[in-house]
């Protein structure tokens, strides 16, 4: 386990990145705060096992992405069980989920459009979603995205292309 000073330095260096990426995956302050805590607890636990085959930043990106994807899967499972228990329609469940959109980085004028966009992004396959978020919200280069995702740059380009096509299909009226 890293010494406390080292861990705090690691936290201060990466917390902003982790928190913002969690917000973009989970769209809510509370979820993002809990996920950020989960990420740094895992970083603390696994630090000694970290082999250094990637940079620390790349490794923390991976931990963050996997933590967020796990939370999204748990959320979907909970939604499905709600559907079963209360006989809610898909539309009712989706509407209730959108009520918790609470992203502090979204301006009031963009909120409605981004809520719709994130609903479409959430429907993308995990790898397409991850590539898209890393490109747009994290502004990572193709090489950096490839390193984080453990893929070639060509594979990343293909994922981005498919993500864009899927979004156009789901949001044909959005400019």
């Amino acid at each position: 386990m890293p010494p406390q000073d080292e861990f705090r330095a690691l936290y201060h260096q990466h917390a902003r990145m982790v928190y913002n990426l969690c917000l973009n995956y989970l769209h809510g302050r509370e979820d993002a705060q809990e996920a950020t805590q989960d990420v740094f607890v895992k970083v603390h636990e696994r630090f000694t096992g970290f082999k250094g085959d990637a940079s620390v930043s790349t490794w923390i990106y991976r931990v963050t992405i996997n933590t967020c994807l796990d939370r999204l899967k748990a959320r979907k499972r909970k939604k499905r069980s709600l559907l079963g228990w209360f006989s809610l329609s898909d539309e009712q469940v989706e509407r209730s989920a959108s009520l918790v959109f609470d992203h502090p980085g979204v301006s009031a004028e963009d909120r409605e459009a981004l809520e719709r966009l994130f609903a479409a992004v959430d429907e993308l396959p995990e790898q397409q979603k991850t590539a898209l978020l890393l490109k747009t919200t994290e502004d990572l280069s193709m090489n950096a995205i490839a390193e984080v995702m453990g893929l070639s740059t060509k594979a990343v380009e293909s994922l981005l292309s498919r993500a864009r096509a899927n979004l156009r299909q789901r949001m044909p009226n959005e400019g």
Binding site: R8, Y11, A15, R16, V18, Y19, N20, L23, N24, Q33, T36, Q37, F40, V41, H44, H103, P104, G105, V106, S107, D110, A113, L114, L117, A120, V121, L132, L133, K135, T136, T137, D139, R164, L167, R168, M171, E174, G175
Partner: protein, 86 residues
């Protein structure tokens, strides 16, 4: 249609700072995680010790009982065998 519309929208999301209490919460979780295993290991050790004591009592009882049982059966005039005819 501007095909980069959705991406431009995503790029407009502002980056925000995490709340200042997050580090405190993380360190509290790490401290709690260190404490729990000790309590758990004490409980497991006690359970194992109790299991050993019970085993010792049962095994000790069996070792003493087997010879004495025959004496009791004879003294009561009972048949220790299930054979009807001797």
């Amino acid at each position: 249609m501007d095909t980069n519309g959705p991406e431009d929208l995503l790029k407009r999301i502002a980056r925000v700072d995490p709340p200042p209490f997050l580090l405190t919460r993380i360190e509290a979780r790490l401290a709690a995680a260190v404490q729990v295993p000790r309590g758990r290991s004490v409980a497991v050790a006690c359970a194992l010790a109790a299991l050993l004591v019970v085993n010792a009592v049962v095994l000790g009882g069996e070792a003493v009982g087997s010879g004495q049982l025959d004496e009791v059966v004879d003294a009561m005039g009972m048949n220790a065998s299930n054979q009807l005819y001797r």
